[in-house]
Symmetry: C2
């Protein structure tokens, strides 16, 4: 039965059940591992497993950054599957891989994400349009978060360019994504460093969940983002925090520190939501 619930509804159910909008971003950089861990797939595996163990009671899911696993070669993908399968129910696994390709290729990427790696959702790049998104939407229980507004400086190169109609590209993306949400499994990625952008996107796409990175190490204002982005029911947002949690401690107590930070973020988010 779980398989027939659209992803966006699943997300809200998991957030209700866990009481958390927080998701931990798993970006395990070998250069930033605690010293006692080896800088290889074994060390990274231990690091990730320990972080999951101490943070899992505070989150609605995990966002796995594919780059850090692919950089380990084939063994990295095996580790990724292993970590995904270790997550307790009902936590969600988001595969942050920013895919953007078409046709047969996209079908194979969807298979890699949803079948081989058993992820619940994936991040996608909109540049090639609907054709690059559609293959990820056929199973409504799996979600696709489409890059919309990113918080890096060079987002102005293209995302902020206005069309003849006067609308910046990122709002054109938000409008198209809203049209693609017939299966209720489309979301958007909107950087949390600019709350006004979150508000504009929310206005353009009232029902789409927003994955809003940038609150932790990148310095976004949590309360402003929550105010701008959450839907009327108090959901509609996922707040992924990576470095602010997984590198909270640098020594042998790293996992304990990560758990503490995750609890703090969860509570801060809950309070911010309740205050409104």
């Amino acid at each position: 039965m779980t398989e027939t619930i659209p992803f966006n509804q699943r997300l809200q159910q998991v957030q209700e059940r866990t009481g958390s909008l927080l998701c931990v971003g798993m970006d395990p950089d070998p250069a930033r591992l605690p010293e006692h861990l080896s800088r290889d797939v074994d060390g990274i595996g231990e690091f990730c497993r320990e972080i999951i163990r101490t943070t899992r009671e505070h989150v609605c899911g995990y966002k796995f950054n594919s780059a850090f696993f692919e950089a380990l070669g084939g063994a990295g993908l095996d580790l990724l599957l292993d970590l995904r399968q270790s997550l307790p129910e009902p936590l969600l696994a988001i595969y942050d891989v920013k895919r953007g390709d078409i046709g047969n290729t996209a079908k194979h990427y969807a298979r890699a994400a949803f079948e081989s790696l058993r992820m619940d959702a994936v991040t996608l790049n909109p540049y090639m349009g609907y054709d690059a998104v559609a293959p990820f939407l056929t199973d409504a229980s799996r979600g696709a978060f489409i890059l919309c507004y990113t918080s890096n400086d060079s987002s102005r190169d293209f995302q902020q360019v206005r069309s003849e109609a006067g609308r910046p590209l990122y709002l054109q993306v938000a409008a198209k994504a809203r049209d693609w949400n017939g299966g209720r499994n489309v979301g958007l990625v909107v950087g949390a460093t600019k709350a006004e952008a979150v508000a504009e996107v929310r206005e353009t796409a009232p029902d789409l969940p927003i994955l809003a990175p940038g609150v932790g190490a990148q310095g976004g204002d949590l309360e402003a983002v929550l105010r701008a982005g959450r839907s009327s029911e108090g959901y509609g947002l996922i707040i992924p925090i990576s470095r602010g949690i997984i590198y909270a401690g640098t020594g042998r107590e790293y996992a304990t520190r990560a758990g503490e930070q995750a609890r703090t973020y969860k509570t801060t988010i809950q309070k911010a939501v309740t205050h409104e």
Copy 2:
């Protein structure tokens, strides 16, 4: 010494030396393998090795479509490295993975492409702007082909939208890519199904090599594309052909047929270039 030659110059040297603008696209779909091969990583490995054996004398390189290897899990990435290392000098390996991410993540993707998988060039997605491209340009001997104009129907969703200045997004991308080519290692991906688009991009970015997919199974007009896209020296284009070569035969003779098709395409391209 080879390491200090910019990628775009290397590409031209390899095309001169091999007398070929053709590159074989390796998109090994398990569902399309000859019947006598197993539908797993072993069967796909044999298929790819045989195709490379019969086509390598006719090409300047291979374009590996990451999706088909990632769908095999960790063993697929191991196979990819194995195939890349099997290529004889001076053939080039292009990693078609359409990356688009920033900062630390992009650095790890660059490491995965250039160090773990030892690729010579990679395809990138421009949506996040220069920040997502820069980490792939630091070693000038490695190239980055940036998605510009794609031949799918929904390229009109965003790529063809005109800015306030009246220029479609894909020509804004071409202009930026030209600016990013200080290290002479930036190229563009322009679908070969619309020769006018190739011509516009060539006018906007006179010196950038163009990777022009779509000539084979997708039906682009080879001569029109060559006329529109090649630079004054007769180079500046790579013509990747995938299905038209690797699935040319369906039985035990598949590799022989692939070699014949590769030779035919190479000759056709040579003649078309000479005719001008």
